[in-house]
Assembly symmetry: C2
Homo-oligomer: 274 residues x 2
């Protein structure tokens, strides 16, 4: 490996068909030092075994995805389990997809209030466990069904009542690239010490028929990674850069090929601006 990948992390969603063991092995073989884990792959492997697999391969866990869905019924027990899993896996960042609106609801303001209440209820347990709740603003097209937090500024406002060691925010280019005030909010996230995770993938046109699968490999779409990466770097962010791509075409390709392309695009479009 000659590409500088010291801060690159393979999110298990990018190589969706790989088991956790395969993803860990694939990352290690490619010289990638970190993995971002989804709970489905972790639970298939078993949490303790997953932690051992990653440790034995000499990798670090950049984040665990995901807790959240705080607008649904009784969300706290599963979120406490997610906090436990993050701690066991040795990552300090639990990505939170906060949840959408209940079926039939028109109460967006109320849903946001439930999210705020849920975060407040989880903070003590997260703090005790050494895990930060990393609030992820999702693209506004998911506001009804997945996340009533749509902008980085809104995520920072929601985090504000809590200690920066316990509640952070995620910058995922796919979700926030359109935001006309993104630059100032990234700067704010840095100033407030809340930048938990930087995740990169591209925005494709047209949007996929299943909008969840519309994320593209860097370089295939319209996102200016140079500018956003410079803004993230200017905050002093020293964490990993995760590549998390939901895309049926990419999932159909052999994992090793996807990883190789990912490294090449990262080296060309992201790493130079760190």
């Amino acid at each position: 490996m000659t590409a500088p990948v010291q801060r690159l992390s393979l999110n298990t969603k990018t190589t969706e068909r790989w088991t956790l063991a395969e993803a860990v092995d694939g990352a290690a073989r490619a010289g990638i030092p970190a993995v971002g884990l989804w709970r489905d792959r972790v639970q298939e492997a078993g949490v303790d075994r997953a932690a051992k697999l990653v440790r034995d391969a000499g990798l670090r866990v950049s984040s665990l995805c995901r807790g959240g869905f705080l607008t649904g019924p009784d969300p706290l027990p599963d979120n406490r389990r997610a906090i436990d899993e993050a701690a066991t896996l040795g990552t300090g960042e639990l990505v939170m997809v906060v949840g959408g609106m209940p079926a039939g609801s028109r109460d967006l303001v109320g849903a946001r209030a439930r999210v705020a209440d849920g975060i407040a209820a989880l903070v003590p347990y997260a703090a005790e466990s050494g895990v930060r709740l990393a609030l992820e603003p999702l693209h506004p097209m998911y506001v009804a069904d997945r996340a009533v937090i749509s902008t980085l500024g809104q995520a920072l406002d929601l985090a504000a009542p809590h200690d920066a060691a316990s509640v952070g925010v995620v910058v995922d280019t796919f979700h926030v690239w359109w935001d006309p005030v993104l630059g100032e909010q990234i700067e704010r996230a840095g100033r407030e010490g809340r930048l938990s995770s930087y995740q990169v993938c591209d925005w494709l046109v047209p949007i996929a028929a299943d909008p969840l699968l519309s994320r593209g490999m860097m370089g295939e779409g319209h996102i200016d990674f140079a500018t956003i990466t410079r803004e993230v770097a200017a905050t002093g962010y020293l964490g990993d850069i995760e590549v998390e791509i939901f895309n049926a075409d990419i999932w159909a390709r052999p994992g090793d090929d996807v990883v190789a392309t990912m490294i090449q695009r990262y080296a060309e479009l992201v790493e130079p601006y760190l």
Copy 2:
């Protein structure tokens, strides 16, 4: 007609299969006093004949849709024609869908600058013609391909250098309902005298496979029309309320049925809050 529809406007997109003459007739038969016109239907009929059709039916034109696409090649001639058409049709509001990013471009900031330049170039002609350029923020899911203006605040910033009689903004619930600062930006639009048009339709889940066709009849989705309508009314807005729905299922239904449902939902979900 017993429902209070004095400010309701049928946008020709809602009854997509109707010709202009059929839409004018359908609105008049249902007691709806206004129509929002798309240029495709106007041009099929011929602009002068379209103006006469609407006038003879005793209707007003709430807006003409659309000018814009200012990020493409040579956009000014067609926009001047759109301004002429609006003037001929007797509407003071030309809805502007500002345009997306050129194929392969990653320069969102540059595209926005081109929009600002295009608006500035059109303002004198619009002012002379008594037509206002009504900037429509589109949902952020269209930022790459249709409109690099994604929020009401951003549209108001773009309008700010120009006289409020020449550059206004559109509030379309589908595009802006998710915005956590929507209420304050509607208030600002009113304060700055720029509220050109209020358009209503609902947000469906899941998003349609063709995201352009994901707009729903009021009451079918997650939008809180009571709150947004109250905010619009509080600005002193006295214009029409257009119903503009792109939806394959609605387009497949007989136009008169769609109009009847539209009146009923408007009377129940929108009109009481004006």
